[in-house]
């Protein structure tokens, strides 16, 4: 670090400011008593109180959490098994598998949204919780598989051999060796999937129905219909929740790097 040029350090500090100032403003404004504009009119909690009373927002929050939990849970159930199944395929098939898995993650979300919307409308599927959960799984499932596979690749095949040598069947290896060693990756995938699902706007925007409004959709409509300070309060809460999520995920990742340090000598 001692050699790092000063220009780099200064640029880094400015970039950090650039990243944080908007968030700081947002949180600051959520305590501003002024109903219009950004001028400071005194400290207040009233927007948070109003928020807590707003039935539609509470409903949207519950919807978001339910959708995130279900889509992440289903993605985990399918994804972990799929990752294990894929890891032992032939090398030649790997590049195709990679392509298929990464495709849903690289194509712009809006494409996913319109494509799903068309399928659902043309097949006359009722837009609602089901369609939103399916939409979220389209990116959550590949995400889970990619994360679990990355961890799986770091596992020493000798562990499975050793377990077999000690009398384990393939089911024993799965339950006693593979899954416990994958646990940090599974938790990491779950947390990331949950957050991505909770935050998703674009896909949800296209495939949600009247009863399945999520929190981001609610925020969006609030921004569109008019700027009330309530949005600031809601946004501030979402920022803080994200921070807590990052903290938790760091904690889990730390533990996972500990385990991989133990296993690092191949």
């Amino acid at each position: 670090m001692k050699r790092t040029p000063t220009t780099f350090i200064v640029t880094s500090l400015l970039v950090m400011l650039f990243l944080y100032l908007p968030i700081v403003f947002l949180i600051g404004l959520s305590f501003n008593a002024s109903t219009m504009g950004v001028a400071w009119k005194g400290f207040t909690f009233q927007w948070y109180e109003k928020l807590a009373m707003d039935q539609a927002i509470l409903e949207a929050t519950v919807n978001s959490v339910v959708i995130a939990l279900v889509s992440t849970g289903l993605a985990l159930i399918l994804g972990v098994g799929t990752a294990i199944a894929l890891e032992t395929r032939q090398k030649t098939q790997q590049s195709w598998v990679n392509l298929i898995l990464v495709l849903p993650l690289v194509i712009p979300e809006i494409l996913l949204g319109v494509a799903l919307l068309m399928v659902f409308v043309l097949c006359q599927v009722h837009l609602g919780f089901g369609t939103v959960i399916i939409g979220h799984m389209v990116f959550n499932l590949p995400l889970t598989i990619v994360i679990v596979r990355a961890r799986l690749r770091k596992l020493d095949p000798a562990w499975a051999d050793a377990a077999c040598d000690l009398g384990a069947t393939s089911w024993d290896v799965l339950t006693h060796i593979t899954l416990p060693l994958l646990r940090p990756a599974i938790w990491g995938a779950a947390l990331l999937g949950f957050t991505v699902s909770l935050d998703d706007f674009v896909v949800t925007f296209f495939v949600a129905g009247p009863g399945s409004t999520t929190l981001p959709l609610k925020v969006f409509s609030m921004i569109k219909t008019g700027m009330t300070p309530e949005i600031n309060a809601l946004s501030a809460i979402m920022v803080v929740v994200s921070m807590l999520c990052v903290g938790l995920s760091w904690f889990l990742q730390q533990r996972s790097t500990q385990v991989s340090a133990e296993s690092s000598y191949q």
């Binding site: 944080y20 979300e109 319109v114 494509a115 389209v138 935050d199 921070m243």
Partner: protein
């Protein structure tokens, strides 16, 4: 060298989940994409529906000058976003990669937090800053630098700022990984061989960081090109990008065939770029 015995993929639940995943992605990812292609070749019905008369007309309309402007603006803004992210991201990534252990964790977490914060909320923060009675204008007027507010919101510049702000972490993280892999000894060796600070950066650090730039470039360029929230909230109706245009065609103009053709054009551009950059990164990074 796994053998038959320790091969856990033979367990029944494992096989079942592979099958279900294939079915799911086939049904809800590949089939919809094929449908988009199919619809892009159909005609628009009288009241916004689809008439199954095959036509190339939708693709011809993509080359209409008015559409071309949107295409061009999207490419330009995405390219500029990627470039600015690289310029701003590299110094930060270098500091993050070279700082000592406990600091690195703290700083990486600080970079990660905006990355995990709701995109909509982060973009909305810029609306508060840039609008006519927003923070920036209030500040400038308050300081006596301006007499009346600048119209900052709903310009190409505001979209650009929003895109850079939104996707900067995507550039920083791959760069940190790439720079961490470069041994500080290589820097020492360059200095030992008479390189100046600038020479060392140009001839050693930048070329060796290429995999990070490529990965970061893909991660920034592709979502910028297809962005919807940023141009919608910060660009307004005049400064459309592909994302907002597609949404407009689908939900406002109700011209699904044309929207599908646009979508397919966007996907083609993205996949072509991804393919080219993927090949370039394979060449750059033999490992």
């Amino acid at each position: 060298m796994l053998n038959q015995r320790s091969d856990v993929s033979s367990a029944f639940p494992v096989k079942l989940s592979l099958l279900s995943t294939s079915l799911f992605l086939g049904l809800f990812f590949f089939l919809p994409l094929i449908l988009v292609f199919g619809v892009s070749l159909a005609s628009r019905g009288m009241y916004g529906g689809i008439t199954w008369i095959p036509t190339w007309e939708n693709y011809q309309r993509v080359f209409d000058p008015l559409v071309g402007v949107i295409f061009f603006r999207s490419l330009l803004l995405a390219g500029l976003t990627t470039f600015i992210c690289a310029v701003l991201g590299f110094p930060l990534a270098y500091c993050l990669a070279r700082v000592s252990r406990p600091w690195q964790l703290i700083l990486l977490t600080l970079v990660m937090i905006p990355f995990w914060t709701n995109f909509l909320v982060r973009t909305y923060a810029w609306v508060l800053i840039l609008r006519a009675d927003g923070i920036l204008n209030s500040l400038l007027i308050g300081l006596g630098l301006l007499d009346e507010p600048l119209s900052l919101l709903f310009t190409d510049l505001s979209v650009l700022v929003g895109l850079v702000y939104g996707y900067l972490p995507f550039m920083v993280l791959p760069l940190v990984v790439a720079i961490e892999r470069i041994s500080p000894q290589l820097e020492d060796a360059a200095f030992d061989l008479y390189a100046s600070m600038g020479g060392m950066f140009r001839h050693v650090l930048l070329p060796l960081s290429a995999p990070g730039f490529l990965a970061g470039g893909v991660l920034v360029f592709i979502p910028s090109l297809g962005a919807f929230i940023t141009p919608y909230l910060l660009g307004g109706g005049q400064n459309m990008m592909l994302g907002t245009f597609i949404q407009h065609e689908f939900l406002v103009a109700r011209d699904w065939p044309f929207g599908s053709a646009l979508s397919f054009g966007l996907m083609g551009t993205v996949l072509l770029l991804w393919f080219l950059l993927g090949r370039a990164s394979v060449e750059k990074d033999p490992s």
